[in-house]
Symmetry: C2
Subunit: 340 residues, 2 copies
């Protein structure tokens, strides 16, 4: 444990971090985050997770454990280390962990750490949270009925409509529907869900850019439905949501045909996009920003970001996982948290 | 009319070109094609269209009319100019043409020229055809019941399954479904349509590359349906088509999740992609190749290509339309025609 830190660290905003599935790349990403200079320069990360797991991952990956650690009990009693810190969430199975293997126990630890990070955010003890990747099957084995972070955090915080945004230097896309079959997308679209995505994206971009953003809303159908020839969601659902947004004085274009919406001259014109389904936004997003993308949940009472990748069980605990997206997630969380 | 041409021109393969909607950018693109050196070096273009329209467009756009012209009657009697040539399809309304305006008369002329080019291909008088853009509304006003070139050419040639491919230096994508509403896509997918797209793409790539190509077949649903969690088309429809293709000894991967399929390392691995719906393929395609993309109809008894854009009524007859895609369409048509 390091005892002597500059006093100025204590002035930096605290950032909550959940360790993710311990059998995945979460532990090593948390270690890299704790020792990252660009992160340390703007916030004090608090990693919620097993200190024993972090120490084992550090040894295995050849990384250092640079942070203070306090027990969960000390944290709950009000301890607040001056610099980067681990909030040690004890986990009985830490010694038996098998990297790259799905297990109920790992799912339980991951879920516990998310709850603790969310509670810290709701209590105002951290300014924002970053969540390392979890494994849906492990969460399900652990008896959690949530499809993922977003649903879990929405329920924990009593949020209304939430919306997934992917953000990078190159592009920001907000998704009206996310992890559902293509066959279910048309029925899930209504003017309210499209309007909510526009509102939440506009709110986030307004804070990020410091000015009224220009938003592009995509059509659902190819060529925008070609005047109703193939599909009427543009006229029936998307158009009215855009009209309402314009009525609020916001700068919103659309419905714009998807295939030409991401050409360079369009991207230069727009600060962000509202897309109707997962791959409509994620195909162009990942082409432009594979390693640096950040997932942001809009609509929660606190800021939450996460890296744009999964648990990567195939390379977990090898030290080979790129920390780029995790670091970008922390930097964006602090930025959005400060603007709130 | 130029009379003296090198004899070697007569050895180059003849390429049929339909003028497209005369009120659009078709006439000026045909003029540019007729005077393009890279095109003239490998084929003898024959533009089916009104010579009066081409002369008027040349005057308006400041372009030259460099080609021989023979009447349709002379062509049908066996005339075959040595170099680039216009096959003059007379059109009573040529003098009243209004650029940028949809009309039944323009639709009729466009359709007549497509029929003549297709007939020339079926008779073996041209090696392949390139079609300049048409306007669907004009075609409809003219009483044509076809949605576009593809449907018209399929019927004219008695073709079985046809498939739209977009090709450029960067990417080749074959579409299982094209201009339909997203809500109709899942029901339109069956193992036969997916298998046909794989077969037609493999056949085209085999000729283009001169070796067995490696093909990536996308999933319909995000994350490939995440093991059936959202959508079962991967297991029910796409998987069996891939298995059948592999059974034929072809190199086919999939179903591959769409969002990461177009990252640089994947594109380096694959010669072409089979995509399930329009924007799944056209979003990445247009991002990588906006001006140089070529549309190829696979499955016809002759080679047919077209530029990757529409009639562009807003800039028609100004001379501002980029000939890049039209020229690439001609070059690819000749290449595919020679390999047939």
């Amino acid at each position: 444990m390091k005892k002597h830190r500059c006093n100025k660290d204590a002035d930096l905003p605290p950032l909550g971090v959940s360790i993710g599935d311990p059998a995945g790349v979460g532990p090593e990403l948390c270690l890299r985050l704790l020792s990252d200079r660009s992160v340390a320069g703007i916030c004090r990360p608090r990693v919620f997770g097993s200190a024993a797991v972090l120490a084992a991952a550090a040894a295995q990956c050849g990384l250092e454990v640079p942070a203070d650690a306090v027990s969960l009990k000390e944290w709950e009693d009000g301890a607040d280390p001056a610099g980067p810190a681990v909030i040690d969430v004890s986990w009985a199975d830490a010694a038996h962990l098998q990297p790259g293997v799905v297990s109920a126990s790992c799912g339980r630890h991951a879920a516990a750490c998310i709850r603790l990070a969310a509670a810290a955010a709701l209590a105002g003890r951290v300014r924002a949270i970053v969540t390392a990747p979890i494994h849906k099957a492990a969460l399900s084995l652990a008896g959690e009925r949530f499809a993922g972070h977003t649903e879990m955090l929405a329920q924990l915080s009593g949020a209304g409509r939430v919306c997934m945004m992917m953000a990078s230097e190159e592009l920001a896309v907000a998704l009206v529907t996310t992890h559902v079959a293509i066959s279910e997308v048309p029925a899930l679209l209504d003017s309210e869900s499209v309007a909510a995505a526009i509102r939440l994206l506009r709110d986030a971009l307004l804070r990020m850019k410091g000015r009224e953003p220009v938003i592009c809303v995509l059509s659902l159908n190819p060529h925008g439905g070609e005047g109703g020839l193939f599909g009427d969601e543009e006229r029936r659902v998307i158009g009215p949501a855009i009209a309402a947004a314009r009525g609020s004085g916001w700068r919103v274009d659309g419905p714009v045909p998807p295939d030409t919406a991401f050409l360079p001259d369009r991207r230069a014109r727009y600060d962000g996009y509202v897309v109707m389904y997962h791959d409509q936004g994620l195909i162009p997003f990942k082409m432009l920003a594979f390693e640096s993308g950040v997932n942001v949940t809009l609509g929660l009472p606190f800021v939450r970001t996460s890296p744009d990748h999964g648990t990567a069980f195939d390379i977990a605990w090898t030290g080979r996982a790129s920390p780029e997206s995790m670091v970008q997630a922390a930097l964006l969380a602090v930025r959005l948290g400060a603007l709130r």
